[in-house]
Amino acid sequence: MNKKVAAFLAGAAVLSSAAVASAHFQMIYTPEMAMNKGGKIPLKLVFTHPFGAGHTMDMGTPEQFFVVRTRGENAPKKTDLKEKLKPITWTSLTNSGQAYEMEYQARGGDHAFCLIPEPYWEAADEFYIKQNTKVIVNVGGEPGAWSEPVGLPTEIVPLAKPYDRWTGNVFQGQVLFNGKPVPGAEVEIEFMNHKPELDKNAFAKEGEVEAPQDSFVLQTIFADENGVFTYGIPRAGWWGFAALDLDPDYTYKGKKCSRDAVTWIQAKDMK
């Protein structure tokens, strides 16, 4: 084989395997999911490939961004946050993309931040992606309605607190579409391997771990007949869960649109 052709084929193989091995994940990130005290917290909304801090997609203007605060047995309080979002440029290891940020004043209890993004056109796959995302931050240890659905069209409802998992615990969630469980839902999982550097609006260049093979970058599991999935957490840090294509017939602007549900957990080591 001609050396140039061989080199091209090898390059193409690397590119294609990279594209297959990592997945899109909508992030709603703040450094600490389980805060001891309230105060102002930064929020960064980034649509990216978290394990490899790879290609970061340009987010459109979010359709909705709000928080539902619950504390103990008190009634939930929903607050619209969309107008407080400011556009930023987030830098990955390979490019930069439009993202959003804001500061939020957090008091006690659970704060479920919910994003309904504008669908993203994925030219490589020729379909849109719309990842409704929920991240729950707790202040002070007083639980709220973390185990209740917020009511997003596609939603992962945690069956364990997403902010209190030790390394080695399992995390369970139930995948819902329009409030009903999705049997056998496909769930992709990625580790946030490059720490977000908030002052730079970028990922750290160095990753925490190296995947021994592509399968480990993006893990895929399936929910049971009740839409419940279970994942054993092997390492402290942020883990993303994306339940894919929960409304297979859904279209946007005449094209296929994958309606996904995303959530994140932050696990801690026992020490």
Binding site: G38, R71, G72, E73, N74, Q105, R107, G140, P143, G144
Partner: protein, 104 residues
């Protein structure tokens, strides 16, 4: 009558054991308008409504007292001198929050 008494005692017992089986929580925040709001609760999510609240000077004089409202909140005017907040849900279930540590 005896039955009623037993029923009341059993309710009392349930309430009491429930209150002892979890950790009390109280966080206070400066509202930025010379008032402070304290939020109370328990680690299992149960309500702190009705829990006694004391605002005390450093020498333990009571400056203000009241109870957590139905939302388990208590708002008071910020004292001018040093103070602390006492969330008093009974023996072993009291929390002291120093005024100096209360921020927005």
């Amino acid at each position: 009558m005896k039955r009623n008494l037993l029923f009341c005692l059993s309710i009392l017992f349930v309430v009491t054991t429930n209150a002892w089986a979890h950790t009390p929580l109280c966080s206070c925040f400066d509202n930025g308008d010379d008032t402070i709001t304290c939020e109370g609760g328990f680690s299992d999510g149960s309500s702190a409504s009705g829990v006694a609240m004391y605002i005390k000077a450093i020498d333990d004089r009571v400056l203000l007292e009241g109870k957590m409202n139905e939302d388990s909140e208590f708002t008071f005017d910020k004292p001018k001198d040093d103070y602390y907040v006492l969330f008093d849900a009974g023996e072993g279930h009291a929390i002291k929050v120093p005024g100096k540590e209360i921020v927005e």
